[in-house]
């Protein structure tokens, strides 16, 4: 039977009333999980696994998958409305989404995010159906050395985030890398910068840090500012204008590509694709100075990438049985508990199930769009509340979120300290984005560098004798030299995000 027929029977199964119901419940729960900053998709999915014990496997998997990509979308809402990323992959959305909201374009930001997510999700699912198996094999050749080279290339892209000065950009990146080093050394097991506090052995949590740097710092800055006019611009225009459509179109297309290809590589995680898409878009833009000040492309690209990633990341799971992120690992656990082992053999043994789940991705993306577009207006209305209420609510929300991460008061402390630091950095106009990038890439770079050297017995040639790694490192060199030679942009003021 060919793929198309499989897909059709999958669609039939996925659109049965019962399975539609499961997808709907999953999307709703997922959105909720995404909105709550502490509870990420991995923990949220895990906690809900027992709920699915009584369902049939297809229904259970449809529901859990829906929770997963629902959460990916839900995180956007708080990023845009209150500058608090609801989950890690929505950090980048804060940069421009929140600025858009301040300009009274919050509805548009949420609208384009929903549409971008939809396009990214559907395109990645179609690609999953058409080209997945051979591509997944190729992606396997990304071993630790290739990963290291890719991360170095990522780090060199910072120059695109650096703002007005390359020096401050690098400074902030190094600060981010330094914070990322806190905790137990991933290879030798020695504690670093932990001061004997067990809570620091795992490092400083990414979510509390970004909630502090963005959310709490924003509250401090706003409270201090003279009474701010509540945004009174029309919020009714949820759909982007013709001009905004034109600008978003390319961003959505490129975001889909970035998210899809990075989704194929196990271990990339959900955050990196959003960063890559954002930096890529800024580099290509004719008006890069608008990034960080409410550029719609700065929301469209990462939001699309994030959902394309979420769907593409199912490819290594379904074709090779390799979970590519913690959330997918939980989903894999759910498959296994139900007596199904994801991998090439599942396609042969239970095609009905695999195709129903794949088809449910499409159904789920449609549901998410329908579920979210009407809500956008409701969410955007929140922005009309006087700020004294919003800021108390936001702070409360952040504290609960940080605590619920691992029921730890320590994380709340980390968030507050980072809030104060973020406030100070914003005051002296240092860019936060490179810091966050350093924080994200730090552990990946270290782990892949050291694993590569363990593999080679300490021989550095492993980085330039493997073709993919060599090409990536050369590309990094080109990017770096290119940005050093390029004259600084004529705009004096740059993004603060």
């Amino acid at each position: 039977m060919d793929t198309f027929q499989h897909l059709l029977s999958g669609l039939t199964a996925a659109t049965s009333l019962q399975n539609l119901g499961f997808a709907l419940i999953g999307c709703f729960l997922g959105t909720l999980i995404g909105v709550l900053p502490g509870l990420g998709p991995a923990a949220g999915t895990a906690i809900l696994i027992p709920l699915t014990f009584t369902l049939d496997p297809i229904g259970a998997l449809i529901m859990l998958s829906a929770i997963y990509y629902g959460a990916m979308y839900g995180g956007t809402i708080t990023s845009v409305l209150i500058n608090v990323p609801g989950e890690a992959a929505s950090v980048v959305t804060c940069f421009d989404g929140y600025q858009m909201a301040r300009q009274g374009r919050g509805g548009t930001a949420l609208g384009i995010a929903a549409i971008g997510s939809f396009v990214g999700g559907i395109a990645a699912t179609v690609a999953l159906i058409v080209v997945a198996p051979p591509l997944a094999r190729i992606a396997l050749s990304f071993g630790p050395p290739e990963f290291f080279a890719l991360m170095v290339l990522g780090l060199c892209l910072i120059t695109g985030l650096a703002g007005q000065s390359l020096l401050t950009g690098l400074l902030m990146t190094v600060l981010g890398l330094l914070i990322a080093m806190v905790g137990i050394d991933p290879v030798r097991g020695a504690p670093r910068f932990t001061f004997g506090i067990p809570s620091l052995y795992d490092g400083v949590g990414f979510i509390p840090v970004v909630m502090g740097l963005f959310g709490v710092a924003e509250i401090l800055l706003t409270v201090e500012a003279p009474y701010r006019e509540v945004v009174k611009t029309k919020l009714t225009s949820l759909l982007p204008s013709r001009e905004e459509w034109r600008r978003s179109f390319g961003a959505i297309a490129r975001g889909t590509g970035v998210g899809f290809f990075l989704g194929l590589i196990p271990g990339v995680g959900a955050i990196i694709p959003t960063f890559v898409a954002y930096v890529f878009e800024k580099r290509l833009s004719k008006t890069p100075e608008q990034f960080g000040r409410g550029a719609i492309e700065g929301v469209a690209a990462p939001e699309t990438a994030n959902n394309a990633y979420a769907n593409a990341a199912m490819i290594p799971l379904l074709t090779l049985g390799i979970p590519s992120s913690p959330t997918i690992a939980v989903l894999m656990g759910a498959f296994i508990i139900n007596g199904l082992t994801p991998g090439p053999f599942l396609f042969k043994e239970r095609p009905d199930l695999v195709w129903a789940v794949i088809a449910s991705f499409m159904v789920g993306n449609v549901i998410l769009l329908i579920l979210n577009l009407p809500f956008v207006g409701l969410w955007a209305r929140l922005l009309r509340l006087p700020y004294q209420y919003v800021c108390v609510g936001t702070l409360l929300f952040c504290v609960i979120g940080a605590y619920s991460l691992q029921q730890s008061v320590f994380d709340v402390g980390v968030m507050i300290v980072c809030g104060v630091i973020g406030y100070g950095l914003r005051k002296i106009d240092l860019p936060l984005a490179p810091l966050v990038l350093g924080l994200i890439l730090g552990p990946f770079i270290e782990k892949s560098l050291r694993t590569s050297l363990e593999m080679s017995g300490g021989d550095l040639s492993i980085f330039y004798t493997r073709p993919i790694s060599l090409v990536l490192l050369l590309a990094a060199a080109v990017v770096l030299v290119g940005s050093l030679l390029r004259p600084p942009p004529p705009e004096v003021r740059e993004s603060k995000a």
Binding site: R188, G189, Y201, I336, Q406
Partner: protein
């Protein structure tokens, strides 16, 4: 002499007072929800197994059992939390031997607890270690592998699931049992990373546990060379044990069991033991765990305490070796 008797008498009196004072409370146990700590984030295999047993056990306990994830520092955060609790039975948690032991034993970790701070209640899972390669690997048997590791020491890339994991110790046990064989250690993050790197040819051999790999052995993608247990695994009946192959000292397992802070009163321990044992014997628990390739091994009382002590002594030896080995 007299003072001794007086002291003893006071001691007995106090003990009696304490017992009578709390007997009522103990008989009523539990009057509120019991928290079951898992020292890893939600979604790991310990967590999922914990949620399965909790959902079944709470029916006969009469109070909810709430799974609490205290992930971090390879379990250290959660175990620190566990030993600090009041030993009243309302806060118990999973211990993962030998991971709990190596955290105690590694001086760099500066753990504030020791093996004596736990009161083992019941063991749930015993997952034997296994040595495996890609299906098309030149190493058809453990002997092939060990001969190669002797012939060109420190070139065969052997993946563990992390520094001082049971799999790391298992590599050292294998090296000890086959003098002259030296592997090049590569510490990866877990079973999924091992599988990916083996398939991509970045790693030659992996040390992991039966539960992680069984489905892949069945699908023919990989080959299990040996199981590191006294008896063959029911999930991999065709795979010989290291003992059969002439390496009786290579026995490595990863276990999950439930413990409380030390000093829990016996009536409460036995109530928990009874309820949890019943839940673990429940067919639903058995099938859900066995689907994942996890072997249920219920150990209670003396047997479990002895297993804990033996594992600790063994982990001590290899942890010290791991810390002093030139290539860690």
């Amino acid at each position: 002499m007299i003072s001794h008797i007086v002291t003893a008498a006071i001691g007995v009196a106090l003990a009696l007072a304490a017992t009578t004072g709390s007997t009522g409370a103990q008989q009523d146990f539990p009057t509120k929800p019991v928290q079951l700590m898992v020292a890893y984030p939600a979604g790991g295999s310990t967590d999922i197994a914990a949620r399965i047993v909790a959902a079944i056990a709470e029916k006969s306990l009469g109070q909810p059992i709430v799974v609490v994830n205290k992930g971090g520092a390879g379990g250290q955060v959660g175990w620190t939390e566990l030993v600090r609790q009041r030993p009243d039975g309302y806060y118990i948690g999973f211990i993962n031997l030998p991971a709990t032991n190596t955290v105690i034993l590694d001086p760099d970790r500066k753990a504030i607890f020791t093996e004596k701070d736990f009161m083992p209640i019941i063991n749930q899972v015993l997952d034997p270690g296994v040595i495996w390669v890609r299906a098309d690997s030149p190493y058809k048997t453990v002997h092939d592998l060990i001969d190669a590791a002797k012939k060109s020491p420190n070139t065969i890339r052997a993946a563990t699931t992390g520094i001082l994991s049971d799999d790391h110790l298992a590599v050292l046990m294998t090296e000890e049992a086959a003098p002259g064989a030296v592997f090049r250690l590569v510490h990866l993050e877990g079973g999924a990373a091992q599988f990916k790197e083996i398939m991509a040819g970045n790693i030659d051999v992996a040390f992991d546990n039966v539960g992680t790999i069984t489905p892949r052995v069945k699908s023919g993608e990989i080959r299990a060379l040996a199981v590191m247990d006294d008896v063959r695994s029911k999930f991999l009946p065709d795979v010989p044990t290291m003992k059969e192959l002439g390496y009786p000292t290579v026995v490595s397992n990863s276990t999950r069991g439930i413990a409380g802070p030390k000093g829990m009163p016996e009536p409460i321990v036995s109530k928990l033991r009874e309820v949890l044992k019943k839940a673990m014997e429940d067919p639903e628990h058995v099938s859900k765990l066995e689907n994942q390739g996890l072997a249920i091994k219920i150990m209670v009382g003396e047997e479990y305490a002895k297993y804990f002590a033996d594992t600790h002594a063994k982990a001590k030896k290899y942890t010290e070796w791991a810390k002093s080995r030139p290539q860690r």
